[in-house]
């Protein structure tokens, strides 16, 4: 059953990445910017998907790792010249991963909603450190004046270069996580998600696996933070706020949990929906009240798409070819 779908899914992701690679040919410079941002969110969302969808660990503090990656990139950059990419990027990832190790080691003692809240607590701690101290520029944030370089090979000041730089990491993250989830490690994580008791009973010590997943996720979030800092050249404590952690959760749930591509789809859908409802070309003066449209759309998605946007083809197929008119009603009522 998996195989039948597998090729279709792979085709979809392949087409998506190819489309993204070709996009700069037709993109306006703002479009390039927007899609770069969404790709960064997609990387971040995938890092969270590894925890939430694949392992069943609902982390409500992903923004902290993202923010740490970004802040480290800015704070370690020299003030009057460009820093070197080859050491700034690993430093950002490492810093986020180290904090994830610390947070994970402690918070994995708890479960369910308690885990959600402990991860939130640790994220808030990081938030208040940058918000309330002068360490990282305080509440108004801090600028990155010079983007990191890789000798003269890579000029990230070029939006196109930055776009492809981000694209490469998006593809890399997807492949890396896909391989990881397909491996023995990934199967253990899936086992933990489905029934952790049984995994333990069958002799797996689940803690190290969960911790490893947590640290990996934190590191990838740090990577996304690094990319964000380089793209915007400005970081702010709000990058670590629970609003972003919450928005990320919304993205992956909207996209469809348990699927890596769900995270990517969710990130794109969430941002595009916002842009759509905010567009005064379409909604005129009512664009001011964009949250209303977004809110109703999300509610509608929950109502008709129990598996998130990933499940959209299935729902459509049922509607078009299924022949059983009751199937939709069932989905809604179930």
């Amino acid at each position: 059953m998996m195989d039948k779908f597998f090729s279709g899914k792979l085709l979809f992701v392949g087409l998506l990445f190819a489309g993204l690679a070709l996009y700069p040919l037709v993109a306006s410079s703002y479009g390039l910017d927007l899609v770069s941002k969404i790709m960064i969110y997609a990387i971040l969302a995938m890092s969270l998907e590894l925890l939430v969808g694949s392992t069943g660990l609902v982390c409500f503090g992903q923004a902290a790792f993202f923010g740490i990656g970004a802040y480290i990139a800015v704070m370690l950059s020299p003030e009057s010249e460009s820093g070197h990419l080859l050491w700034l990027l690993p430093a950002a990832i490492l810093a986020a991963a180290v904090y994830a190790l610390f947070v994970g080691a402690l918070s994995l003692r708890t479960k369910g909603v308690y885990f959600i809240m402990v991860t939130l607590a640790f994220a808030q701690m990081a938030y208040y450190v940058v918000h309330d101290t002068k360490l990282g520029g305080g509440t108004d944030g801090i600028y990155l004046y010079f983007k990191p370089t890789l000798g003269s090979i890579l000029d990230l000041n070029h939006p196109q270069v930055l776009y492809f730089f981000t694209w490469v990491f998006l593809v890399w993250t997807f492949i890396f996580l896909a391989i990881l989830l397909g491996s023995h490690f990934g199967r253990v994580l899936a086992g933990i998600r489905i029934n952790e008791q049984r995994m333990r009973a069958s002799g797996f010590s689940t803690y190290p696996y969960k911790l490893a997943a947590f640290v990996t996720s934190g590191g990838i979030a740090g990577l996304a933070g690094f990319l964000f800092a380089v793209k915007d050249g400005f970081v702010n404590p709000e990058m670590m706020s629970w609003h972003l952690s919450g928005a990320l959760l919304i993205m992956i749930i909207l996209g469809g949990l348990g699927h890596l591509r769900g995270a990517i789809i969710g990130a794109f859908a969430f941002v595009f929906l916002q842009e759509f409802f905010k567009s005064s070309d379409i909604f005129g003066a009512f664009a001011k009240h964009w949250q209303l449209g977004l809110g109703f759309t999300i509610i509608a998605c929950v109502a008709v798409l129990p598996k998130g946007l990933v499940g959209l083809p299935e729902v459509l197929r049922k509607r078009l070819y299924g022949g059983r008119p009751s199937s939709d009603a069932q989905i809604v009522l179930k």
């Binding site: 108004d140 664009a287 083809p313």
Partner: protein, 387 residues
């Protein structure tokens, strides 16, 4: 299917804008203001003020028709760079106007500095905007956080108070306002005995009010705005401190909040660059016009929006609507005297208003002027190379 959907939406977003730009080139003004969240009302007032002025000019500035493009910045600095890029790169605006929130304004300043787009800040008082980030193409029509604080420092010292406690949220605007107060107050021999802070946007003041009661200072200086200002004034009164320890504040404490404070703000002295019952013809005309247009009394934010448009007009007139002549634009604005509802003001080399700061006393729902607290006060603009 999703890909299709996204493409359609993307085309809708990106395509439309490029189509409309291909016409006969009106001047595109990008308004980046909050339309949702805590500051939504301020965003509306600024926009109203701005549009009132452009309407008075026959919807033309520097000989060019005006076209507005709006972005809701949500007062979220994490989205600020994207939002400002949407205007600069996506809409190719000629002029940027925004915003209320300081953190967002910081991101706008950076983007404006890099792209060279002319930016007029109609509220955010972050000192960095006309300090380290100052630039020939960045202007501010409002104030720096330092200015009302400094003026109030002088006033409180003149009242004979020696020992003062300050209280504000722990964020940049609060810190900068308190710094201004300390500069003005200590210059005249006063001493700030304790700086109380609470995390933004926490509004549980009771513990700190008790602390104030135990310290028994001669007076209290505060910087709060919006919902926090309403609650602080009410709590201060309810704690019985209003009669024993006089409260002074930056003007936002009683601006747009008096009605909600329900009489508890009566008699409070605040400093700001605008006041009610200013006896000047410009203000009277402005108020009448604003009232007619929007069925609302104007506030300081509307004035700042109005003056942002005035600054724009002066610059555009000097370059006949050609925004690429940045140096001429800046030179004209720097040389100009602006006839504002707040009274006449000029812009400093760092492009922050050099303006009178008024001492006001809250009466009913208004903040009528008592006197000029400090005449033609300029922000020190620390860190600005042009200064």
């Amino acid at each position: 299917m999703n890909l299709f959907k996204t493409t359609v939406i993307a085309a809708a977003i990106l395509g439309f804008s490029s189509l409309s730009y291909a016409e006969d080139k009106p001047l595109k003004v990008g308004l980046m203001l909050p339309a949702t969240g805590t500051f939504a009302a301020l965003g509306t007032a600024i926009e109203n003020g701005f549009k009132l002025y452009t309407k008075e000019q026959g919807d033309k500035l520097g000989g060019r028709a005006i076209e507005f493009v709006k972005v809701d910045d949500e007062s979220d600095p994490a989205k600020a760079t994207d939002n400002v890029n949407k205007l600069i790169k996506g809409e190719n605006v000629d002029i940027l106007v925004g915003t209320v929130h300081s953190g967002v304004a910081m991101a706008m300043a950076k983007a404006a500095k890099e792209s060279g787009t002319i930016l007029i800040v109609p509220n955010a008082g972050a000192q960095a905007v006309t300090g380290p980030m100052c630039s020939p193409n960045i202007f501010r029509s409002s104030f720096s956080n330092w200015q009302p604080g400094y003026a109030m420092g002088e006033v409180v010292a003149q009242k004979g108070h020696k020992k003062v406690v300050t209280i504000t949220w722990k964020y940049a605007a609060g810190d900068e306002s308190v710094q201004g107060f300390k500069d003005g107050f200590s210059k005249s021999g006063g001493e700030v005995i304790k700086e109380l802070n609470l995390p933004f946007p926490n509004v549980e003041f009771q513990a700190l009010l008790t602390e104030i009661a135990s310290l028994k200072p001669d007076a209290v200086y505060t910087f709060f705005a919006g919902g926090g200002a309403v609650k602080f004034v009410k709590d201060y009164k309810a704690a019985g401190l209003k009669d024993s320890i006089p409260l002074y504040g930056a003007g936002f404490l009683t601006d747009g909040t008096l009605e909600a404070q329900g009489g508890d703000g009566e008699g409070l002295l605040t400093t700001l660059h605008y006041a009610d019952q200013l006896d000047n013809a410009k203000d009277k005309a402005f108020r009448t016009a604003y009232n007619e247009a929007y069925k609302l009394p104007p506030d300081v934010y509307a004035v700042q929006g109005y003056d942002a448009a005035q600054i724009l007009k002066v610059g555009l007139d000097a370059v006949q609507g050609d925004v690429s002549k940045k140096a001429e634009f800046a030179a004209a604005v720097e040389a100009a005297k602006f006839d504002s509802p707040r009274g006449e003001f000029t812009l400093s080399k760092a492009h922050n208003p050099v303006q009178d700061i008024y001492l006001r006393e809250a009466k009913g729902k208004e903040n009528p002027v008592i006197s000029v607290a400090t005449k033609a006060l300029a922000d020190p603009a620390k860190g600005c190379a042009a200064n």
